[in-house]
């Protein structure tokens, strides 16, 4: 079935270092969404990408959607301790008009101060 995969599963960085997580879908996606889940918290929507090759920035976060609309990445510049959490990408189920999302397994970021 349709799958969304993320790498790496875990990343430990020193505060101030950069961080990147990669997301790959087994099928072409109409759009991709990114969520952040803090330890003990719930997923919080960050951004949605729709267009092929789209790049969006939110302060230190840069999101990219691949040209083939099958992969995406999230890059954080100069990480801070507030960036700690698990980052999930999610894409809609193919040929579905229900908004059902298929989530990756997430990348958990630890930042050492």
């Amino acid at each position: 079935g349709q799958q969304v995969m993320q790498i790496p599963q875990y990343q430990h960085v020193q505060e101030g270092e950069d961080f990147t997580t990669y997301c790959n879908s087994s099928t072409t996606l109409s759009n991709i969404q990114w969520y952040k889940q803090r330890p003990g918290g719930h997923p919080v929507f960050l951004i949605q990408l729709v267009k092929s090759g789209e790049v969006k920035k939110q302060k230190r976060l840069t999101f990219q959607f691949g040209e083939a609309k099958k992969n995406s990445s999230l890059h954080i510049t100069a990480t801070q301790t507030t960036d700690v959490g698990t980052y999930f990408c999610a894409g809609p189920k193919r040929s579905s008009n229900t908004g059902k999302l298929i989530f990756g397994q997430g990348t958990t970021l630890q930042v050492k101060p």
Partner: protein, 114 residues
Amino acid sequence: GAGVSQTPSNKVTEKGKYVELRCDPISGHTALYWYRQSLGQGPEFLIYFQGTGAADDSGLPNDRFFAVRPEGSVSTLKIQRTERGDSAVYLCASSPTGVNQPQHFGDGTRLSIL
């Protein structure tokens, strides 16, 4: 305004018991989703409501799981004859109308089956 509210926040029960988990979505949101999240995994889709009807229940693992949304607002996820493998965090999310929209999640119900 108020976010998605889920109750209880924690539920511990014995194998074989029946449980009900409640979700109160953001006011005015017609789309409501239930997901299940196990440790170290992403949310796994269970069921989607558009208004009062279950538009997609393809994620329900078996017929022990059932959900309702009788008035198009509050939803209840019901699990019969619980098994230890049902232990997980059950997340509810809502969005204004559904397709291709950001989903707003509640804090979840942590269900533990002993």
